[in-house]
Amino acid sequence: MARNSLVFGFGLLVALLAGWVGFPRVLYSRQNQPLAFHHKTHAEKSGSAQCNDCHTLAEDGKFAGIPSTETCAGCHSEQVGTSKDEAVLVNSFLKAGKPVPWKVYARQPANVWFSHAIHIRRANLECKQCHFSYGETDEVRVYEQNRISGYSRDIWGHSISRIRFTRHDGMKMNDCEDCHRQRHIEVSCLGCHK
């Protein structure tokens, strides 16, 4: 019997390790951003502290998202500094007139309708509320993509168990719902889906 439980426990352990440690590594593919963009540096150099200095929210409620290459060209019309990425930016994107294929961590699927205007202008939420303080760091995060659903890992959140250690993890529907529940805001399915 003792031997039995030992063998059983061994099987259990192997499976648990595979499931909790191995599986996430297999499930998500890791992709680098096309350019090493540093939020902090840009904030300092351009002297713009506010998110919406670059990620503008227009009067008609339209949110610009990631700034266009025209905005980059404002400073980077010619190479600034000597880094390899700098050359790439100027030559293969700005000069070529091609948009930079950023991988968007917070990208929601096509069936989701999200209005920054409503959340910022009406609910006065801070960008951090959902986007963490990424904008203040100088790290270039690796973009992790779920191989099956194609979602960015940020949607599910980084803890595979969805037991959050930081409040800012996960942008799943449940996370939207939690926030809405706290604020007693009732939204129908098509309130956020299209």
């Binding site: 929210l57 227009a58 009067e59 008609d60 409620g61 339209k62 096509a110 069936n111 309708w113 209005s115 205007a117 409503i118 202008r121 009406r122 009732e186 129908s188 399915c189 098509l190 309130g191 889906h193 299209k194």
Partner: protein, 246 residues
């Protein structure tokens, strides 16, 4: 403050041109599949031809645009859906169909007396390049789910965003007009907030000429019809014997 969006469709004004059908399909990214027939196609807005059955000068025809009736009471499709893919929105009264939640059991289709629900029998497809013409407000549905008229909900979204951008809570009614209403050349389809007594459309629903399809099964549709012709008003009755198809 919660609205009850509805319609009054003046059947005496409808000439059966079908503009509403095409405008609806274009707005809602409804595919046009060569293999689809009048029994398997997707027509969230469908104009049906009826007549008084005569074949001489005395023949009268009418056209009945059929869309989701937005039933207010005992909404047949909502109670039957096993996984809450259909709901009546408290804020707008719109009966909402969620293709991403739907498992395609089609129980709601058997429940709908108006045949206003459609199943995606095929994967949606467009000729090469035509996907660039898809309207951005609406996600394309996948094969194997039910869809129906959501009262151009994408347009409500843009109206809400516009209001929020201007820091307003309420949308400007002019910003939210469904595609079929906008398209109708004779103004036969009128759209408004039935909860607002000052809304002309809401007042029209009380006219003696206004009626609802199958009124007596008690689903209280928010889509009303109206006509001066008695034989057309007979539509209100399920057993409307004097009405003939086509």
């Amino acid at each position: 403050m919660s609205a009850r969006y509805g319609m009054v469709i003046d059947l005496d004004r409808c000439t059966g041109c079908g503009s509403c059908m095409v405008a609806c399909a274009s707005e809602n990214n409804v595919p046009s599949l060569p293999q689809a027939s009048d029994r398997t196609g997707l027509t969230p807005m469908l104009v049906r031809r009826i007549s008084n059955g005569k074949q001489d000068e005395s023949r009268r025809e009418a056209f009945v645009p059929i869309l989701c009736m937005q039933c207010e009471h005992e909404t047949p499709c909502v109670s039957v859906c096993p996984q809450q893919a259909v709901e009546v929105d408290k804020a707008t009264g719109i009966v909402m169909q969620m293709p991403q939640r739907c498992l395609g059991c089609r129980y709601c289709m058997t429940a709908c007396p108006y045949h206003a629900r459609y199943f995606n029998w095929w994967d949606p497809a467009w000729p090469a390049g035509m996907e660039k013409s898809l309207s951005p407000g609406v996600a394309v549905r996948m094969r194997g789910v039910v869809e129906k008229c959501n009262l151009c909900h994408g347009r409500l979204h843009s109206a809400q965003e516009k209001a929020a951008g201007a820091g307003k809570r309420e949308i400007d009614p002019a910003d939210y007009v469904p595609a079929c209403v906008e398209a109708c050349p004779t103004g036969a389809i009128r759209f408004g907030n039935l909860a607002d007594d000052n809304d002309p459309v809401s007042q029209e629903t009380h006219s003696p000429e206004a009626f609802r399809l199958l009124a007596r099964i008690g689903t209280e549709p928010k889509v009303f019809y109206k006509s001066k012709e008695p034989w057309v008003r007979a539509l209100a009755d399920g057993s409307g014997a004097e009405v003939k198809r086509g």
